[in-house]
Symmetry: D2
Subunit: 156 residues, 4 copies
């Protein structure tokens, strides 16, 4: 299965479909069944005690796994998370976070995998998440997930 | 175990410890091992397709369970989520969301329970989450979790 | 949605499709979206320290949720667990365990819900599990999940 | 942190503390924060449709992660699972299963990590599990969990 995005294409696509959050990610690597990205925390991401909030780490895992899945299946903006199980293991430092996603199972309708999250430059993952995404069916008979036609109908 | 907060006290405390997110919750009910709260979505909480984003539902579950735990153990602002497993079951409507938390196990160091989330007025939960919180030890020898003295040291 | 099984029918069905494990459950209640059953531990279910093993509690949650789903959708023996998240909260006593399942979302292809497990007569759940089952499509065009025709093809 | 077990020592210890299940595992590799083991299914492990039952895969993940933790912390037979989140991704074949555990966080009281499970010789994991174990404190010299001999070495 070929990769459907280059790094610049992924940045452009995320900015398009998630105007707010999507521009916060810097994709560092796209490979088959694997994607690595960085995100830098903002003041609003922190919580009492000076650590990174749970929802921020959830959003990081969720978006990086979304990109890892889309890298394989193409522009399916409407892919949605159906479940996520996350363990918070170490106190993350405010600053730059690195997330490594791996896709373990990519079926016709589900993508299942996990994400390890790190504070950049610090050994030991701060959190891990396993996620399941539901992949919407291709809208057109030609089934090309990256054709503009299928994209239009997928978003309508 | 007696309740440590009235509803107005909880609103005041959340505004104090989470100046941004904390003011978004309207606590509707506090009972032993149970807390119900509402949150109204903002434009930034939505995602492509007009649904409520995963991180928003995660934040809802996380904060409501935090309040349910603090209602039992007192002002332990530094209680932290250690794990969360969330299932997204139905598409939530933008608007007012209701979250019902129940505390299933309240030990000395851990609080374990779950949260059901609904779109107000719509039957069927939109999501469920199970959470584990780690409760910090009381900081002072007198071990009163609600004394201002122990709170000061816990936050320092 | 009507119930597809009486308690005796469920006992007979479980004995048929799970000759070994299926006979260990005593169904106590079948209601819409809810099923309660008991199981008594055997020596092989225990582990060092005299507690009930994790796999035993997993099997209890898994089978009781399976029955809760089948009570709603009929004789779909091939329904399979796709995910389970389980928290072990208190040390269970050897003896009779009670499991209460509730179905939170019953779609065309997925059943999502949870199970609370108790040591009979002891307050406080020993474990909770959230589960997702994949429901196989009905085998015949008539789509009756309880017709003998669809059952034969489902099992072949 | 040094390894506390060789492969033959682990086999002997598992046979001692889990007389029934413990002898079914063949440890293939013990390394820091990593352990790989095989288990061959028995007729009682299978379920309708000829696949491996969920409880069997749960037991595999649970025991292999237990061994991975003990390999690091020594003979703490009373370590107990506090949570497990498992995704069943592909239909496993009856026969030999391989489980690869990695320990992601090893604290004083908790071990957090995950396990990937495979049908031997088949590409693509059949299941993945994330687990948390609670590690009992090294108690007093008198604290006996099974034999005094195993306790002595556990504390060294």
């Amino acid at each position: 299965m070929g990769l459907q995005f280059t790094i610049p294409e992924m940045h452009a696509y995320m900015a398009e479909v998630f105007p707010e959050l999507g521009t916060r990610f810097e994709v560092l690597e796209i490979a088959p069944y694997r994607l690595v990205a960085a995100m830098t925390t903002l003041p609003g991401d922190l919580r009492p005690g000076g650590t990174v909030s749970g929802p921020t780490l959830f959003a990081l895992a969720d978006c990086v796994y979304y990109m890892a899945t889309l890298a394989m299946v193409g522009r399916k903006a409407l892919a949605v998370t159906t479940s996520c199980s996350i363990d918070f293991m170490r106190k993350p430092e405010p600053g730059r976070l690195i997330a490594e996603a791996r896709v373990l199972k990519l079926g016709r309708v589900l993508s299942v995998g996990d994400v390890l999250m790190f504070s950049e430059g610090v050994e030991g993952a701060v959190a891990r998440a396993s996620l399941t995404y539901s992949i919407p069916p291709s809208a057109s008979p030609s089934a090309s997930s990256s054709s503009s036609a299928s994209q239009k109908s997928a978003r309508s």
